[in-house]
Amino acid sequence: MIPTDNDIIVRALAGERSAYAELLRRHQDRAMTLAVRMLKQRTEAEEAVQDAFVRAFRALPSFERRSSFGTWLYRIVFNVCASRLERKGIEFHDSLDEVHEDERTLQLPSADGTPESWFEGEEFSGIVRAEIDRLEPSYAAILTMFVLQEMSYEEIVETTGLPLGTVKNRLFRARMQLKSAVQKHFSPRTIAVAP
């Protein structure tokens, strides 16, 4: 049976070095992904992840397990990255979060659009990855938390300190921006037009 994070935390708190390594190994990719999405640079993201893990391990005795270890860790990663962004003058917490109603409506592509099979290909994946990197840090962070880390709205609220409405709006806008950006790579006839 695979031990849970809490099982490993008990061993780590007992001083078992390999338990720390196991926790780190389990969460490092997701932590790194969140940091890269926010900071846009691998080297800086890796420094941030290292800082976040160090803070998390030092604070492990105070981890109360009200949330999962993953959510708790990602909050630390998020805070480390947000601090780095703020030092660069990129404010994470204020931004216009209004969603215009027309963005919620369906934008139909033309009938002779790109075939669905294209969505399965490497070219599509490459375009999406490139466009994720161009998303605003706060949008990219929330999108990553929701889609990759499968965090609930409430967990994202807890992690980011943003209001629920703001989280929902930013997630929606992140997805729409990504979709629009990817659609620009389709043939001109297939670019969506708002009704």
């Binding site: 070095r17 720390y20 390594a21 780190l24 190994r25 490092q28 990719d29 997701r30 790194m32 992904t33 940091a35 890269v36 691998r42 993201a45 890796e46 992840v49 290292q50 893990f53 160090v54 391990f57 030092r58 963005e103 919620r104 409506t105 369906l106 934008q107 139909l108 592509p109 009938a111 659009g113 669905e116 969505f119 399965e120 599509f124 994946s125 999406v128 990855r129 994720i132 999108l143 990553t144 889609v147 990759l148 929606f172 997805r175 729409m176 990504l178 979709k179 990817v182 659609q183």
Partner: protein, 183 residues
């Protein structure tokens, strides 16, 4: 039946849409290629975001553990030994057993071990050299004179061999570990 909004499509994809509306959209998905294509695009985007995982460099774990754990003062070769202790322990045990077997007089077919001749020569030479020393004279006049006796010699030889092996391991693993970290 109203066309779905983008938000409804996304909520449907996330499984949080009202079931009645979800059923209506399912009907549209089967009858309208445009709606289905839009839905499939959202699904492909979500799948790609989910699969776009970044991995840190392999050195991250050591860098973090070195900063948070008390063993951070350990030499690199000791960390290496600790990490691979599961493999090294049986090998070390086998090496010790083999050494004991080879050195022990009981393992030789006719009196003395296979190293006994060389061992006698070694201790004899050492005695000749050290006999000129007053310190040695005073030392060997006491009870510790048995240092080069048969069993004491075995222990001395084994200890010396272990020391040489440790030095070699230190040099080898330190160099290897450093090389790995530099990559």
């Amino acid at each position: 039946m109203n066309h779905p909004t983008q938000k409804e499509l996304l909520d449907h994809l996330d499984g949080v849409l009202d079931p009645r509306r979800a059923a209506e959209i399912d009907l549209l998905l089967s009858s309208s290629p445009d709606v289905r294509r839009e839905y499939e695009l959202h699904r492909a985007l979500r799948r790609t975001v989910r699969s776009s995982v970044e991995s840190p460099s392999p050195q991250l774990a050591d860098a973090v553990l070195d900063r948070v754990l008390p063993q951070e003062s350990m030499a690199p070769w000791m960390r290496w030994v600790e990490r691979y202790s599961g493999v090294l322990a049986p090998v070390a045990m086998a090496a010790v057993l083999a050494t004991v077997f080879l050195i022990s007089p009981a393992s030789a077919p006719v009196g003395g071990s296979i190293f006994s001749r060389e061992k006698e020569q070694f201790f004899s030479a050492a005695e000749k050299i050290l006999n000129h020393s007053a310190v040695w004279e005073s030392w060997t006049s006491g009870p510790s004179k048995t240092i080069y006796s048969s069993s004491g010699g075995n222990l001395f030889l084994m200890g010396f061999a272990a020391f040489v092996l440790l030095l070699a391991a230190d040099h080898l693993f330190r160099h290897r570990f450093t090389s790995m970290r530099m990559k």
